[in-house]
Amino acid sequence: MLQIECPYCGVRDEQEFTFGGPSHVERPTPECSDEVWTAYLYFRENARGPHAERWCHSFGCGQWFNAVRDTVTHVFHRVYAIGEARRELEESRQ
C-alpha cells in the first residue's frame, strides 16, 4: 500500500487517490502539425526512475497536485502544487 502525502491533508492511503498520468503535458495550438499533435496525444513520459505525475486526492480534499515519484521504488520524492514549474523535478533529482 502506497502512503501518499497530500499537500493539503497530509499522508493518506493510496486508495484515496486517483492517478492522473504524467504531468507538465502542454496542449499544442490547433494549427500544429500532425506529428506535434500525435506526440501530444500519445507519446508521454514513461521514465524508469523519477517521474513527474499528477495525482488527485479524490476521496479527501478533491485537490489535484503534482508529484515526483520513482517508478521503480515507488518512493514519492517531492509533492508540489499544480502550476509549479518542471524545474522542481530537476531539483528533486539532485
Partner: protein, 414 residues
C-alpha cells in the same frame, strides 16, 4: 538435440536418468551476428527460432539481462485465446492459437496446451447484449465462440455463485481457448533455437546502441560490444527505456500487472472463467492451484510487484463468484512490468531507425501471442518488410489515426 519420446524416457530410466543433456547451450557472446534479439522471453526466443528454421538465418543471438523466461513470460497466467473483436486482432491471435495447437509437436516439447474453453460472464441484460455483439464479431472473424445460457454455465461450472451481488445472466465461451505451460513454451523455443545454432546469452544487459548515421550497427552490453546487421527489441516493460537510447520514442505506459495462485486442491474448475464487471479471471492449473488474474495497478511502475489494493479487489471478486474458495490460502503473488499502448494493440515491425525492429506494447496479453509474435517478427526481420498480419500494428498508426482500439485485448483475461 536429444529428442524427447516415450522410448527416450524408457531408455534413460534404465540408466538412472543420468544421460540427459542440457536442453540448450548457455552461449558466450560473440563479437558479431546477423541478427541480435534483445530480450530472452517467449517473443524473443520464438523470433530467434523462426528466423533459424523458416528463414535460414542462424547467426542469431538472444540477449537476456536475467535468465530466459524470468520476465513477463514467467509472470503471466498462461491464458491462450483468440476471442478478439476486430478482424486485424482476430487474424493475428488466431494464427497464434493455431501455432499453439501444433507447438508441442513442432518443438518436440510438451507445452501442455489444454483447450478447456474461455468463458466470459455477463451480469446484466446490457452486458449480455455486448457479449452477443462480441461473440458475433468473433464468429464473423472465423473464430469459434458460442453463447451460453445460465443453465449451460451452471452445468459447466457448478461451483459458480449465481446469486452474487452481480448475478450471472449468461455469457459466451471460446471452446478452443485454454491454458498452456508458460515455462515449457520458453524452454521449448530456447531448446529448438539453440539446436539450430542460435546463441542464448543470459546475464547480458544491453546498455546502449552503436550507431552509424541513422542506422544501428550494434549494441553496448554488460559483456562487451556486439555488432549486428539487424536488432530486434523484445523487452516488454522496458521497451521505452531501451528505445529512447536508440533515439526512438514509443507511446507506452509501463505498469505492474499481478496474478496469484492458491494452495493446490483437487480438480474443481475445468474451464477459464472471466468477469469484466467484477474484474477477475479464474482458472485451475494442472497442479491444482487456483490461478487468479488481477488488473494492472493504476500508475506507472517498473517495480515487478503488485499493489495491495488491487490484490484485495481481485480476491474479493474471486470470492464473490466462487464463495467455496474462501478457505483457500494464497501461496504466491507476483507481478510483471507490462507495456500498455493507447489502443491496447501491440506495436510490431520496422522503426524509423534503420536496422532496428520493435516488438512491444503487448500490455496485459503477450503470452498468448508468443508463437505468432515470433513467426511474424522473424518474417519481418528476414524480409525487411512487415508480415501482412502485423502490418496494421505499425508504429505509424498513431500518426495516421488507424488505431485498433481493441477492448477485448484486455477483456480482463491476459
Amino acid at each position: 538435440m536429444q529428442r524427447y519420446s516415450f522410448w527416450s524416457l524408457l531408455q534413460h530410466s534404465f540408466t538412472g536418468n543420468s544421460g540427459w543433456q542440457a536442453a540448450w547451450r548457455n552461449a558466450p557472446l560473440r563479437s558479431s551476428y546477423d541478427v541480435v534479439i534483445v530480450g530472452g522471453g517467449g517473443h524473443g526466443l520464438a523470433t530467434a527460432y523462426y528466423l533459424a528454421r523458416k528463414h535460414g538465418i542462424r547467426s542469431v543471438a538472444v540477449l537476456e539481462k536475467g535468465w530466459i523466461g524470468g520476465g513477463n513470460s514467467g509472470r503471466n497466467t498462461q491464458v491462450t485465446r483468440s476471442n478478439y473483436f476486430y478482424p486485424e486482432s482476430s487474424a493475428f491471435f488466431d494464427h497464434s492459437l493455431k501455432l499453439y495447437e501444433g507447438l508441442g509437436r513442432e518443438l518436440n516439447f510438451n507445452v501442455m496446451l489444454s483447450q478447456r474453453g474461455h468463458m466470459v460472464l455477463a451480469h446484466s441484460a446490457h452486458e449480455l447484449d455486448m457479449c452477443r455483439r462480441w461473440m458475433n464479431s468473433i464468429v464473423m472473424n472465423g473464430v469459434d465462440a458460442i453463447m451460453l445460457t445460465p443453465e449451460e454455465i451452471r452445468r459447466r461450472v457448478p461451483i459458480l455463485n449465481f446469486r452474487a451481488r452481480y448475478p450471472v445472466v449468461g455469457g459466451f465461451i471460446q471452446p478452443r481457448a485454454g491454458i498452456s505451460r508458460h515455462d515449457a513454451v520458453v524452454w521449448g523455443y530456447a531448446r529448438s533455437a539453440s539446436a539450430l545454432g542460435v546463441d542464448i546469452v543470459q546475464g547480458c544487459e544491453v546498455n546502449g546502441f552503436l550507431r552509424s548515421g541513422d542506422r544501428v550497427t550494434g549494441l553496448e552490453t554488460s559483456r562487451g560490444r556486439v555488432s549486428a546487421e539487424r536488432i530486434v527489441l523484445s523487452v516488454a516493460g522496458n521497451s521505452t527505456v531501451l528505445a529512447n537510447r536508440a533515439g526512438l520514442r514509443l507511446p507506452l505506459t509501463t505498469m505492474a500487472l499481478q496474478a496469484m495462485v492458491s494452495e493446490p486442491v483437487k480438480p474443481v474448475l475445468n474451464t477459464l472463467v472471466m468477469s469484466a464487471v467484477i474484474h477477475v479471471y479464474v482458472s485451475q492449473s494442472d497442479r491444482g492451484e487456483i490461478v487468479l488474474g488481477a488488473g494492472a495497478d493504476g500508475y506507472h511502475s517498473y517495480a515487478q510487484r503488485g499493489g495491495v489494493p488491487q490484490l484485495r479487489n481481485t480476491v474479493a471478486a474471486a470470492l464473490e463468484l466462487f464463495p467455496c474458495f474462501s478457505r483457500l490460502r494464497l501461496m504466491r503473488q507476483w507481478a510483471g512490468a507490462v507495456d500498455i499502448t493507447p489502443d491496447t494493440t501491440p506495436i510490431m515491425g520496422l522503426t524509423p531507425v534503420s536496422g532496428l525492429y520493435i516488438n512491444c506494447g503487448w500490455g496485459t496479453g503477450g503470452y498468448k501471442a508468443i508463437p505468432a509474435g515470433g513467426d511474424t517478427m522473424a518474417y519481418t526481420v528476414a524480409h525487411n518488410r512487415p508480415h501482412h498480419l502485423i502490418a496494421p500494428f505499425s508504429l505509424e498508426r498513431f500518426t495516421s489515426g488507424a488505431l485498433i482500439d481493441e477492448g477485448a485485448a484486455a477483456g480482463v483475461a491476459h
